[in-house]
Amino acid sequence: MTAVHPLRPSGAARGDGSRVRFRGVLRSELGKLTSLRSLRTALAAVPLLIAGGMLLRAWAYAQTAQHAPVGVPPAAAWADVVDIGTHAGELAVVVLAAIAAGSEYTARAAVSTYLAVPRRPVVAAAKAVVVLAATAVLAALGFVGGAVVSAPFLSAARLEAPWSAVAGDAASSAALLLIVALLALAVGTLTRSTAAGIAIVLALLLVGPTVAGLLGAVIGVDLTPFTLTYAAPVLTALHDPAGPAALAGDAVVTAAWLVVPGAAAASALVRRDV
């Protein structure tokens, strides 16, 4: 079955002007994203978890409304539904981005990758473009699908909101998912480990606010605005309860959460041996 053939000249790879181009690296990274079962699962999970989370919350509103009025304005209920979908989607996005970055190293596939494209930042940029594009498309699918399946339940609870408001919530949530994906890519690249990438980013998202609250209580300073969990959502929603002026601070905090791990990952990517 695996008998070799006599060597014969190919010529297929010669004389065609082939060389490394960013377009080709993008195509390669897209192929990698769709040729692994774990990544295909993570890709499918993004819209499914978003829509599933939204559906679950909408169903809960419908169940509550059967016994008593919900007591929440329709726009707030929809924002809540989208919020639950976003949190569920964050899990899948973190896994997707961390696998995309970390699997290169856990399976030593990075050797093949960097033999083909020795300029490592080019690979990292292409991977980021592909993962972010996939996240954007799948998040859009998830929010649209989630809105469609949630609408009947919210209507039953007399919670009908204008589609423009729902679309606005979904757009800001999709932007949040892109930020989370970027962070997971950076951490995955820095740690060179899928498991470590997932664990660290989920800890930042889930445990970070609790730790900030505890530390803040000890030192007497409110540290919550410095967490990504606070700053990024209010930034992408363009609405900070502290007022419009606080948005600039949120932008700085969010940028810091991306720039610091991103710079560390870029440095490690270029300087460390494969």
């Binding site: 053939h5 060597l7 010669r14 060389r19 490394v20 699997s103 030593r108 596939a109 033999l115 083909a116």
Partner: protein, 318 residues
């Protein structure tokens, strides 16, 4: 051409590669030899930009590997058979590489057929045997139809047919004017394939010579002879510059003299030689002579191995 100039790699206080310089010329097969830990793989990885040299430089056609516009067209490399994701199919693995250079899709099928993996192109490589993974690594190295090829232990796990094929591939590529560098521990295989030999030991270049030069320099010609009147010829052979080791009664091994010279000396002294034959020099002998002091990891004799060997010799004789 691949050129390595004063390449050094340190890991803290440990020196893995120490001021190594050599050239891999096109049109010939160069063997890259050395004991475990000699720095061969580290050197290859620095040539290919995977490891950063502490100092020195490695170039391919005058450029650093990272500066090549089409790296896999310039150098095809198989360094590590595990350098692929086990969850990906063979064709998906090769497509991910070929897409970066915009190679035609049919090229993936060509190299898979060439290496005998055409029938398993869609199978996940995690299910491959060592030999199949090795073939896939070679397929990846050939993907860009490169001007130079670097193969680290290419025959590991290959069946005899695959070994022969690799030998033919290396010879063919060199005949086409490509530079071929093969790192291996299989001396007999290297000896049959290479024109030139680079020997590394403890991070340094111990030899950079043609195969013949290496054999001549590191393993002097030995000639076995048999003569009933051996004692009469020993003196004249030594006087002529030879060194004589009596191996058995009437049998000896002579170094430092050619068979012709020995025959003439015997004739001059009326000694009849009933056997006269050069002992074939092997790369293995030359390798061990060169690397005797350069091995970082040494094995110890197995307990009781000598006694068992003696018993076996006795049994064979009886």
């Amino acid at each position: 051409m691949i050129e390595v100039t004063h390449l050094t790699k340190r890991y803290g206080p440990a020196v893995a590669v120490d001021d190594v310089s050599f050239r891999v010329e096109p049109g010939r097969v160069t063997g890259f030899l050395g004991p475990n830990g000699a720095g061969k793989s580290t050197t290859l990885r620095m040539i290919l930009g995977l490891d950063r040299p502490t100092s020195g430089r490695a170039t391919v056609d005058g450029r650093a590997y990272a500066d090549l516009p089409a790296p896999i067209r310039s150098v095809g490399a198989m360094l590590d058979t595990r350098a692929l994701h086990p969850g990906r199919s063979a064709s998906a693995h090769l497509r991910a590489i070929s897409d970066t250079h915009g190679l035609p899709r049919r090229r993936v099928g060509e190299v898979l057929d060439l290496t005998g993996l055409g029938d398993v192109a869609r199978r996940r490589v995690g299910t491959f045997s060592l030999g199949m993974t090795q073939r896939l690594g070679i397929a990846a190295a050939l993907l860009g139809d490169p001007a130079a090829i670097l193969l680290d232990e290419p025959v590991n796990g290959l069946d005899p047919e695959g070994v022969l094929w690799i030998r033919a591939l290396a010879r063919r590529m060199a005949a086409e004017g490509r530079a071929v560098l093969i790192s291996s521990h299989l001396m007999s295989e290297v000896e049959q394939t290479v024109d030139h030999v680079l020997v590394l030991g403890a991070g340094r270049v111990l030899a950079d010579a043609s195969l013949q030069e290496l054999l001549d320099a590191a393993a002097p010609l030995r000639v076995r002879l048999r003569a009933e009147d051996l004692a009469r010829i020993v003196g004249p052979l030594v006087a002529a510059g030879g060194s004589v080791l009596e191996t058995e009664p009437h049998r000896a091994e002579v170094t430092g003299l050619t068979p012709d010279r020995i025959a003439r000396i015997a004739a001059d002294h009326d000694v009849v030689l009933t056997a006269l034959a050069p002992v074939e020099r092997s790369l293995e002998d030359a390798y061990f002579a060169l690397t005797a002091d350069a091995a970082r990891y040494r094995t110890r004799p197995l307990p009781g191995a000598d006694e068992r060997a003696d018993r076996l010799t006795e049994e064979t004789r009886s």
